[in-house]
């Protein structure tokens, strides 16, 4: 049986930063890595976000937004020499009471493997390690069931989401 090679602890640390976490796809053909510290190529990140329908955002703003995020997680398909960014999510928050999830994306060609669910589990675990007991997000209509099936409560106690837009 062919199986994608795993990285040694040292390789993992070197390429993806301390605390990175690897796993194999269920068909064993891909080695995937969650990293909170491997830097993003902003063009690759922009392509990922646009592939799932996000509108364009200036690189300058994205760079700053990443710097001020509580947590940003890249899901990388490991390839020697050139890891490929296939998933992303980030959180804003105060790191102790409130954490809000934004920009959850899996590259369409890698959807259907359960990576989105694993990404959310990884993100929740990371936030729990900070002591956070409640996480919030705004769900598009198309992903409401995705979140509900993972234990997210939609509009608890009749809460509604409200957006204010400039102009």
């Amino acid at each position: 049986m062919i199986s994608a090679p795993s990285l040694t602890k040292d390789e993992l640390d070197e390429v993806y930063g301390k605390g990175a976490c690897q796993f194999q796809s269920s068909d064993h053909l891909m080695t995937l890595v969650f990293s909170q510290s491997r830097p993003f190529d902003l063009i690759e990140l922009e392509q990922l976000l646009q592939s799932v329908g996000w509108s364009h955002r200036p690189a300058r703003k994205v760079r700053r937004a990443l710097a001020y995020s509580l947590l940003k997680v890249g899901l990388w398909k490991h390839e020697a020499g050139l890891p490929r960014l296939i998933g992303f999510a980030r959180c804003t928050g105060d790191g102790v009471i409130e954490a809000t999830v934004w920009d959850v994306a899996i590259l369409p060609v890698y959807q259907g493997y359960g990576f989105g669910k694993q990404l959310m589990s990884y993100l929740i675990k990371s936030l729990q390690e900070m002591g956070i007991k409640r996480i919030t997000l705004f769900a598009d209509p198309g992903v409401v069931d995705f979140y509900r099936s993972q234990g997210w409560v939609l509009e608890p106690r009749g809460n509604r989401c409200a957006f204010w837009y400039a102009n």
Copy 2:
């Protein structure tokens, strides 16, 4: 006509910090100040939040959450020697794309003067000055109309709010 005294620019800076903003209540009997830098007495803040029904949070967590908030606004009733905290709101976010409002509270005895609306306007203006074009919040059923009347859009494009709770 009796009117509450205004503070000089120096007094305002000294007591409430740079950038504080004063105004009078519509009956001219109170001088009110918005401040982003006057430190909070955590017991006074806790009493304010509990007065509007928030549950108790440990001071240690609140202190840290304030430190890591993007913006925190106190609404103070000015009294020489002892300003009184009568309103509060804070935001988390990345300071450039996302900002989320939390813990909006006006002490019940001061509700009905329009202070909540003024607090939200002040907060929006402050976030706009950072370049933020979209602000989000989670509205309890009882305050949905309050936000809607101020131009907030409830569940735009079918968005839903989702909460994840530990345990």
